[in-house]
Symmetry: C2
Subunit: 428 residues, 2 copies
């Protein structure tokens, strides 16, 4: 016999137990339902793209892409939902209607060093609204609300969620007013983005290093004051504050509750241009953002000469769910059926098969033990492992009398009934 | 500006329109529901496996695998549901219960030459029941019934399905009786498998070439006679016929209707050892099998010293659905919402956002047009494209009177109502 092959999946790849997978699927379906009720259509894009579509620069993500060749074609695996989406929009602009709203729920691939909370294959839930040339900022508010509704639909599993909302355009205006060149601005975006990870002192010193003491004081004042109380004589900054205030009113009209305007929210990606936002779990403040997004311009510029403007976000679905499941912060149910069906001997098989058909027709989740040669003890062991609410036992007595024996696996109580009465008891 | 990147997906990769995707998802969810009601748990296995797990022999499939490297690790994309399943069972035998029943709905990858009905990325729905050491053939009947129920759950889309059921063990016994060596047997399996693609004469001549005239007559007699009327003096073949008869009775007890015992069904794969079966669409007899499966032994032999015996099948989901959708054999609905909401000007925004929230809370699929600067004509164009059943129009009159204008997009009738009455009308 040849050597046995390894049975574990590759490091960084998720393989959930059946009971965890069930919770995972339940949560995904709940959120999808919210997105669909808000009119977002499902896009299921290929996991493989041309290498030139994925890019191949020298930034961190590029080094993580799985590239390969087949024949003359260089290709690679998708590493986020954005690139395929941009290509899709540019390619299908004739066939779809704008503003176009869609969601994705797909596996992404990144060959990064496996570590806690990081996977090489993971699901992300992307949601976007995009239009040609212009898109009202009212949609930004709508996206935030719909994503919040998505999280809220699984609050039984994850608890409450808070969304922190920042504004790239506020900072662009402020940096302009401070007369920072674009290099400094970019470095400053990155520094503010990292603020939560630094001590106040370290943040302050890095800030002074970058833009000097006076401007640092201004930045710190912007960050430490409730945005509506920011004191400035600059009219353009005042306008940005007004815009934020109007934005907040839209969120309120949409019924959004757990939010906070927080100017330290930046999002890493360079392509955001307006509102940016991040979602956090209230019960697990130590966990980093479980999702986020923002407004972007020119998303399709690599694929089309037309300008497409959009607002979008992503839920880090595997990251969030697998972390909570693995740390037992979500309880799982180990009952795999409503009914297990046990059969005393081969003479009872035909009758039992008819019973199985009747149960399933009535939508009763039924797992039969069909090996009639096995001892009853072995069959009961199986029933216990399945952890069904009921066991149905079919022996010659039941067949002869056209009845079934129904055992309540919790109470141990057992009755012999007609199928009709048994069904009523099971569905009760 | 740099050259624009291609917007089309790679050849052989599927990108459905939103209305087709919706039907595709509807069908997948229907079948999943049937599998879950029969107690099959969802397995979501990685799309990437170690190269040594995928194998890499010289057969046709191996040349189609997408292999690649990252660091020192050689890996590749899954090309079917079986290899990962075998690895999973061998690796998780402690944590799961036997007989274990599971389904998969996952993308598989094959770098074959694109042609009609063949894709490089496609969904397959795998379903298996597996046990250690032995597994009653009653489960074979159950799998066939559950798969049939899966297809039946989307009969509104695909029409009726017929399952043709063959028996490898019948032929093994027959070949033994004919004293064919294993090479001849294998060639004969392949030849009978191809029978449908050959003329009767060509089949007969190839048969004679392979096993001579006398044995050919016997094989043709087996194939052309209803199995229950096969005339043989050999007791072992008689026993196989009895077994088939018993198997048929189990299928009947489970309520299976559209089936035919057909000894020409072989399935290509070498690993089948007992019952084999293939599903066909009644309305599209020109289409090849839309799914199939059979009993296998030693599925996990590359991963475990223990013997695991199972019965399983797969629905060629993308193949079936995309073919029917692309040939317009399935009608799609182009209505993307129950309600489109149009807003006359910015003063009506707050009130409108509250209405959106109320509609979605009541599970009314609502797509608002939120760009209040756009002309009404443009907004109505959007409403027409969305093809919603209703348009809600909010102007200053509606805001002032706390009402909404509801337009039935089919009849053109428009009423001004309270939100409560409008909701009742929409949900009617």
């Amino acid at each position: 016999m040849a050597d046995l092959k390894p049975v574990k999946p590759l490091s960084g790849f998720i393989e959930l137990s059946p009971e965890k997978q069930r919770v995972f699927d339940y949560a995904a379906n709940k959120i999808k339902k919210v997105f669909e009720t808000a009119g977002f259509v499902h896009l299921d894009l290929p996991a493989i793209e041309r290498a030139e579509v994925l890019g191949g620069g020298s930034d961190e993500v590029s080094t993580q892409i799985y590239f390969f060749e087949k024949g003359d074609t260089k290709m690679g695996l998708r590493y986020d939902g954005t690139i395929g989406f941009a290509r899709y929009i540019a390619g299908h602009q004739q066939g779809i209607f704008f503003p176009f709203r869609s969601y994705q729920f797909a596996k992404n691939y990144r060959g990064e060093r496996p570590q806690k909370g990081r996977y090489r294959e993971f699901y992300q839930m992307d949601i976007d609204i995009i239009d040609e040339n212009s898109l009202s900022e009212n949609y930004d508010a709508e996206i935030i609300k719909v994503m919040s509704d998505g999280y809220a639909s699984i609050s039984d599993l994850i608890g409450e969620v808070v969304v922190r909302i920042g504004s790239r355009s506020f900072w662009n205006t402020a940096f302009n007013y401070m007369e920072l060149d674009s290099n400094k601005s970019n470095d400053l975006f990155v520094l503010i983005d990292k603020k939560d990870k630094l001590s106040d002192d370290d943040f302050r010193l890095s800030l002074i290093d970058l833009i000097g003491e006076k401007k640092s004081e201004e930045v710190i004042a912007f960050l430490s004051t409730d945005y509506s109380k920011i004191n400035t004589k600059n009219n353009e900054i005042k306008l940005e504050i007004d815009k934020l205030n109007q934005f907040e009113n839209k969120l309120k009209a949409l019924g959004l509750k757990n939010y906070k305007i927080d100017l330290s929210i930046m999002r890493g990606h360079g392509y955001y241009t307006g509102v940016v936002f991040e979602f956090f779990l209230k019960n697990y403040p130590e966990m980093s953002a479980i999702g986020g997004g923002g407004r972007y311009e020119n998303l399709c510029e690599r694929f089309s000469k037309k300008q497409f403007i959009g607002v979008g976000g992503a839920i880090g679905f595997s990251r969030m769910m697998v972390a909570l499941l693995d740390e037992d912060k979500i309880k799982t149910d180990t009952s795999f059926a409503d009914v297990t069906l046990l059969i005393m001997n081969d003479n009872c098989l035909k009758y039992s098969l008819e019973i199985i058909e009747e149960l399933r027709k009535a939508n009763v989740k039924t797992i039969p033990f069909l090996d009639t040669d096995k001892k009853f003890k072995k069959q009961m062991e199986f029933a216990n492992k399945i952890n069904a609410k009921f066991a149905i036992i079919i022996g010659e007595y039941e067949v002869k009398n056209n009845q079934i024996s129904l055992k309540n696996m919790k109470t141990g109580e057992q009755k012999t009934l007609t199928m009709k009465d048994a069904l009523a008891e099971i569905l009760k």
